[in-house]
């Protein structure tokens, strides 16, 4: 524990003098038993690197699910002051722009679903396209495509994919303003054209779960959850469209570095001032990708409802399939935050971190004003996922942010090795879940033991006060790309 200085049971500091050029300290949220894993890779170095970014305020932050990324670590949060030469960095968002999670509730119970689980997962697998070796079912004309990028989730709802009420239960109502479809490269347009409405591969998934434990009865009730009831979690992002936007702008930002005389310790942290053309263009393109992702998850949610309807012979309304919420966990947003008593307009980069706005925040719909924002935290496919709620302390300490998931501890190769010759099916059977995947390799790489125990991660954010636990879900079946 050479570098890290313990601040309290859940916060560890990288002092400002650790590395030349650091403008603020680094703060990592973790408990003592996690530190050894965190120190194993270079993520601490990456937190320190981010602290050198121009205009960064307060601290370079990392959540307990921190792991090695490129540029910013996964689990990293960086806020830069837009009025004080603060920079915008695509490396602070990542390639999968607006990768995020959506949670649907149902009126179904474990007793309803258990006998039909296999049929349900098979139907979901057939209805919800993975996009791995297959294209999405949505064909869009050029003008419609631009509408997707401008309007996000509401495009999907107007086109018939979803319910109007889904919008208010989506972060930023499923649409970032300030888009400019004209600055999107032909490559990004082409890459995204056939992928709208697809799940994607890697850690993306669609999971049927049961509410296993309620921590805060009142909050759970307000969010529409009860023990023993079935929920569905959808984890996906902006697919090839967002990947290409990030690729395009990283290259552009590389050139901007010398133009603006900016030095960064890692090329992947290439950035430009908020007020520059490059900075503004990235924000406008990133907003297009974020909206693509919200339209994407909206379509996936629609087909999920259709699959349930088919299997249970009732329409989705009768099944009570209301959307609890949808959060982004790879994004940069311009938000107002109080720093040292002053209200500042900040570019909050959340890379593997979730917004966690407190009760009373004006951005929340009226039915969540008292609870705080629902924060959806997916775990690995074997153990558990969680629902939390945003807090005032998150607003004070972490720019209204908290963790995003389990965080990998084993590389993909190490995950294969860890199975020690057992088949992935045997390993999954151990957890009693039913899984369908387009690629078996993905299933192997995503074996539960490759991840930190999600329960440790949410325990830290709950005890540190930057979100509070509402409910825990146990996976029953999963569809993967």
């Amino acid at each position: 524990m050479g570098i890290l200085k313990k601040l309290d049971d859940y916060r560890w500091m990288i002092p400002k003098d650790y590395k030349p050029g650091m403008r603020v300290p680094g703060i990592i949220y973790a408990k003592e038993s996690m530190i050894k894993d965190i120190e194993k890779d270079q993520s601490i170095e990456q937190v320190a690197n981010a602290a050198t970014l121009s205009g960064i305020v307060k601290a370079s932050l990392a959540m307990p699910d921190i792991h090695y990324g490129y540029g910013l670590p996964i689990g990293g949060i960086v806020a830069t002051d837009t009025s004080q030469e603060g920079v915008i960095t695509p490396g602070g968002v990542g390639f999968d722009i607006n990768c995020g999670v959506r949670l649907l509730r149902t009126d179904l119970t474990l007793r309803d679903v258990e006998p039909k689980l296999k049929e349900l997962i098979d139907t979901l697998y057939q209805t919800v396209p993975s996009g791995v070796g297959s294209q999405g079912p949505i064909r869009i004309h050029k003008s419609q495509y631009r509408e997707v990028l401008r309007k996000g989730a509401s495009w999907a709802i107007e086109t018939g994919y979803g319910w109007k009420g889904d919008l208010e239960n989506t972060e930023s109502q499923g649409c970032l303003p300030g888009t400019d479809p004209d600055i999107i490269s032909n490559k990004a347009m082409e890459r995204g054209r056939n992928q709208l409405g697809t799940l994607g591969s890697g850690n993306h998934f669609l999971e049927v779960q049961v509410v296993e434990e309620i921590f805060q009865g009142k909050l759970a009730q307000a969010m529409g959850l009860e023990k023993g009831f079935i929920t569905v979690m959808i984890h996906s992002g902006s697919r090839g469209f967002g990947h290409q936007v990030c690729t395009d702008f990283l290259k552009m930002m590389e050139k901007a570095l010398s133009k603006y005389g900016i030095k960064v310790p890692d090329r992947q942290l290439a950035c430009a001032p908020y007020s520059s053309t490059e900075g503004k263009n990235y924000l406008a393109a990133m907003a297009c990708a974020a909206n693509y992702a919200w339209a994407n998850r909206q379509c996936l949610a629609h087909w999920t409802r259709e699959a349930f309807s088919k299997v249970f012979g009732k329409n989705p309304q009768e099944l009570g399939m209301r959307q609890i919420y949808d959060v982004a966990h790879n994004i940069v947003k311009i938000e107002e935050h109080k720093v040292n008593g002053n209200s500042l307009s900040l570019a909050v980069h959340r890379k593997g971190a979730t917004r966690a706005f407190p009760p009373g925040h004006p951005e929340l719909p009226s039915h969540y004003r008292e609870t705080g924002q629902p924060v959806i935290i997916p775990g690995d496919m074997g153990r558990a996922s969680y629902l939390l709620a945003g807090t005032a302390k998150a607003m004070e300490e972490t720019f209204g942010s908290t963790c995003h998931g389990a965080g990998r501890i084993l590389s993909r190769h190490a995950a294969k090795k860890a199975l020690r010759g057992k088949s992935i099916q045997e390993e999954i059977d151990k957890y009693g879940i039913y899984a369908r995947a387009a690629s078996k390799a993905t299933l192997v790489e995503e074996v539960p033991m490759a991840y930190k125990d999600i329960s440790d991660v949410v325990e830290v954010v709950h005890r540190a006060g930057i979100a509070r636990l509402v409910a825990r879900f146990r996976p029953l079946g999963v569809v993967k790309g």
């Binding site: 792991h67 990324g69 490129y70 791995v132 890459r191 290409q244 290259k251 590389s411």
Partner: protein, 139 residues
């Protein structure tokens, strides 16, 4: 000939270490390394070809940009490449005839969808044996 590349893991992603006697060989092997991660090289036939161009600020940037061009062609147009003939390689541009075929369900499988090649620790360096390049891929 050895295969000229080595795939290594970082915690969340996949790295590609590429070797070659000369720079041309390094760029050639980078293509093979990339498509051995995405699919099975031995199942890809050289049925079609397409010209690919890339431009960079320096060698590491050119390597990252080259791989990103190939990733785009795979993700957007379903190309799977097995080989390439490098028509021109100079500081810092590449023009190559890439050979392979389009993805066919049943014949090919996608093992890993690669999102992008990153600049993180990207390097192209001269060694006593020739050249060595490193690129980390976001998968």
């Amino acid at each position: 000939m050895t295969k000229g590349f080595w795939i290594f893991d970082t915690t969340a992603d996949t790295g590609l270490e590429i070797y070659g006697a000369g720079l041309e060989e390094v760029f050639h092997n980078a293509l093979r390394g990339l498509f051995s991660i995405i699919s099975d090289l031995e199942k890809i036939e050289e049925r079609e070809e397409t010209e690919v161009k890339a431009q960079g600020e320096d060698w590491p940037d050119l390597m990252v940009t080259w791989l990103n061009e190939l990733i785009f062609l795979q993700d957007a147009r379903e190309w799977l490449f097995k080989d390439c003939y490098i028509e021109e390689l100079k500081p810092y541009t590449i023009r190559a005839l890439c050979k392979g075929e389009r993805f066919k369900k049943g014949k090919h499988r996608i093992k890993t969808l690669v999102k992008a090649a990153t600049y993180h620790q990207a390097a192209v360096k001269e060694t006593p044996q020739g050249y060595r390049a490193v690129v980390i891929l976001d998968v």
